[in-house]
Symmetry: C2
Subunit: 493 residues, 2 copies
């Protein structure tokens, strides 16, 4: 099975694609830039979504649903936002097809069904939502408004990559409205922390939290906070963003409220989102040359049972399957999701490789002799090690093992990330280090010009001004000017 | 509160709109034909979705996600399906906007970013899914393929109505592939039963199950099964459909499989879906002049607490709120969702009306004297009756009450439906009965011509050939020919 997977050392991009396709997470489609999320990948997404949805609700937000289409006049209302997304918009111009008079059985766009105003397929929903908020907000009593939406969005990307960059993707987008600037800033920070909690503690991906430089901000935001991960290809990935939007959208859509003291003010806004891109981050953080490695907390299956079935021995098979089902029921009581491999045509070695490819955290193997001895063989996906465990201690053993695997995956990823985060103070080392991959910590003079030049010369961008790394006095890595902006550089996806 | 709601007897359509808007389920948007599902409406949808999703999974299906866009050449491949939906398709023709040179700050569609092939925004996903299934199905071992998708779809409707008919709506669509015709037919029937179970036992809406006549079938189906409800405006509503697609899509998309005996055959298909339209059905089945009435099994909140708060008496308020929270915790243990009305500025009467408008099944009122007597007043939304209940019996009382309300709502709706289902055998009575509203059972000669003429003259359509009403010999209501098709007529939404 793993023979079919390209090794990381040979071609890490092909390795990634092999994992997605052969691990059955997603498939290409005949629709440019759009992918199909296959059942196994979607089950993973559902687990992720359910966890994050609960976190979003537990912090006081409610879900709602807004239209897919944004009329052009609304889309262009917040100019910076519009400018930022205009180049990647799918645009609906007609609302009907008709039979092609020259080509029987074929259809053409009906020129008589041209829309008076074009509709943009939402690349993000600030415009359509703030246009609605105008009607929902009159007084301070209507605030804060804390709404989240799970939806599909479309950004016309020229170079796409399964999960990491697709024209259509699934995401959640929070859009909140507040009476004061401070409250909106606190919300922006709170949601960044929610994302960091989710990504580190559930997806086992270590992060740097920080804020974006002005040139890397979301179009229309006054401040963009972000979480940045380091993938196994040495590139950084922006895993989630939380934006403080100031009063920009309130002004563009004329959303005012009456304060407690009776004056009228513009509303303060935030927005924040994470997407199916996180699945790409998860794959490229954890997997190895054997295949995927899914963190237990979000894995579609925690455990796969592989009984030693033999097509010639149906009676023994029944006993083995019975035992698996018995253990399965006990695991289910503990909330442990498992499946039984009932195929009696394939060799065990082939099956092991298949389940390793799928990244199932724990494999339980049981043969006729194990029945006699009342034991099973338990293998863990992260270390590929095995142990013989007594059947009567299994549930507790597996419960503990899943926790171990979860924390081991995080620690391993964190070690990799830390080993590939280097502090440098001269330009030559900087260039070499960027070429090697990983995060580079360096001082920057704070100018967009320097930032742009560094990008031109090295393809590295400032991923963020990190919160957890002290800002120290020093010389700018490029301009040599004295400065105290200590920032995180990397080439990014 | 209910003063603001138009009475059913005055204008039932306005009543419906009032309920949706003032009950805060949904709002109009500035996007033609598209609505905003507000948090309260979306919470209802989430409950409905979660229940149905579990039912779909429990019957062996898995979820996946397919692209929003359908390239025109795929869309037109199954000709009947294409013809059926061509007139209501939103079409993406361009992938970029640019600055309007004549109008600073405005955008125009960039003519240089015209797509080579137009993309249809999915009105339904058979085309894009069957184009994918071709790559997934080679052998009988790959079958059955049992996949469901939760998604948004767009059908360009000219006359829209909140929830009941909108250009964009949310739904699930199942798409299955089978080795044999019989298996596909069994699947079509099974999913109709799942829908009927869900709609009758969770949404408390009584149904007729049946099959559509040829002219009312889904475009591209060999057979369409359906569930039909009767709303309070006397019109029928198609609440869900399950299609046997024969080999039509397999042939259009060349999806063949190798059978166990080694021959090659086209795959057999089904598809089935229900949508946010069910929320419209729920509203117009159960509500009254006081407002919404949400069936307990899917209600966002089962219970609302209204303590008698007085802004001048914060100490007493704290005691009352404490008691509510204490009971709330006990209800939560039983899975009963509740909220506490903490507003100390509004009169109780105003609050009662507000919660009745929202359709919350149970109201618990508690005042200072109730604290002394260790009782509460419990009001039920369906009958608007009240009872004094001892605090120590509350959880059991409410648990039982919610079951009562659920079954009472179903029984009441069923009585209405049955009282408005009339069997007729002459044309004059038929016309009068159709004018009055409700279902009319009558014989039909089986011809599309007669069906069309009845529709022209009365606006009534054949909702279905019902499964639960015996097919009897008799004369066609219109043509007077002898026949044995006993069918269900109604004007429909």
């Amino acid at each position: 099975m793993s023979d079919f997977i390209t090794k990381r050392s040979e071609d890490i991009n092909q390795w990634y694609t092999d994992l997605v396709l052969k691990g059955e997470l997603a498939d290409y489609s005949d629709v440019r830039g759009c992918m199909v999320i296959k059942p196994y990948g979607y089950a993973l997404w559902e687990n992720m979504r359910d966890v994050l949805d609960k976190m979003i609700k537990d912090t006081g937000h409610v879900n709602a649903y807004f239209p897919l289409f944004v009329p052009k006049s609304l889309f262009e209302a917040e100019e910076k936002n519009a400018e930022g997304f205009a180049k990647e918009c799918a645009v609906v111009t007609h609302y009907r097809l008709k039979n092609d008079p020259d080509n029987k059985g074929k259809l053409i766009v009906d020129p008589e069904a041209k829309l008076e105003e074009e509709l943009v397929v939402r690349p993000t929903s600030e415009a359509v939502i703030w246009n609605t908020y105008r009607n929902w907000i009159q007084s301070y009593r209507d605030l804060p408004l804390l709404i989240n939406q799970w939806a599909n969005v479309v950004r016309w990307e020229m170079r796409t990559k399964l999960f990491l960059r697709t024209a259509e993707f699934l995401w959640q987008e929070g859009h909140t409205a507040h009476a004061t600037k401070n409250e909106a800033i606190a919300e922006t920070e709170k949601m960044l922390d929610v994302y960091a909690d989710f990504v580190e503690n559930w997806l086992a991906i270590p992060l740097y939290k920080g804020k974006k430089t002005e040139s890397e901000r979301f179009a229309g935001a006054d401040e963009t906070l972000c979480i940045e991960a380091l993938l196994q290809d040495g590139k950084a990935l922006q895993a989630g963003t939380s934006h403080f939007l100031g009063q920009n959208f309130a002004k563009a859509f004329d959303v005012k409220f009456q304060t407690e003291s009776g004056s009228e003010e513009y509303v303060w806004a935030t927005s924040w989102g994470v997407s199916t891109r996180l699945i790409g981050a998860l794959i490229m953080t954890h997997s190895d040359d054997h295949g995927l490695m899914i963190p237990p907390k979000v894995a579609p299956f925690h455990v796969v049972f592989v009984p030693f079935l033999q097509s010639k021995n149906p009676e023994q098979n029944a006993i083995l399957l019975n035992k698996c089902e018995e253990i399965q029921a006990k695991l289910k009581e503990k909330g442990i999701r498992s499946k039984i491999d009932r195929d009696d045509t394939k060799r065990p070695g082939f099956k092991f490789a298949e389940h390793e490819l799928k990244g199932i955290p724990v494999r339980v193997v049981i043969g006729p002799r194990d029945l006699e001895n009342q034991v099973v063989e338990i293998a863990r996906r992260d270390t590929l090690t095995k142990e013989i465990v007594s059947q009567d201690q299994m549930e507790i053993y597996i419960e503990k093992l899943l926790e171990d695997i979860q924390s081991n995956m995080f620690e391993r990823a964190k070690t990799y990330r830390d080993e590939n985060t280097t502090r440098v103070s001269d330009w030559d080392t900087f260039k070499k280090q960027i070429e090697k991959g990983g995060f580079v910590i360096a001082n920057w003079d704070g100018s967009a010009e320097t930032e742009e030049k560094i990008k031109e010369e090295t393809k590295a961008t400032i991923r963020c001004i990190p919160f957890d790394i002290p800002q120290v006095e020093g010389k700018c890595i490029y301009s040599n000017k004295d400065c105290n902006h200590t920032v995180l550089f990397a080439r990014a996806h």
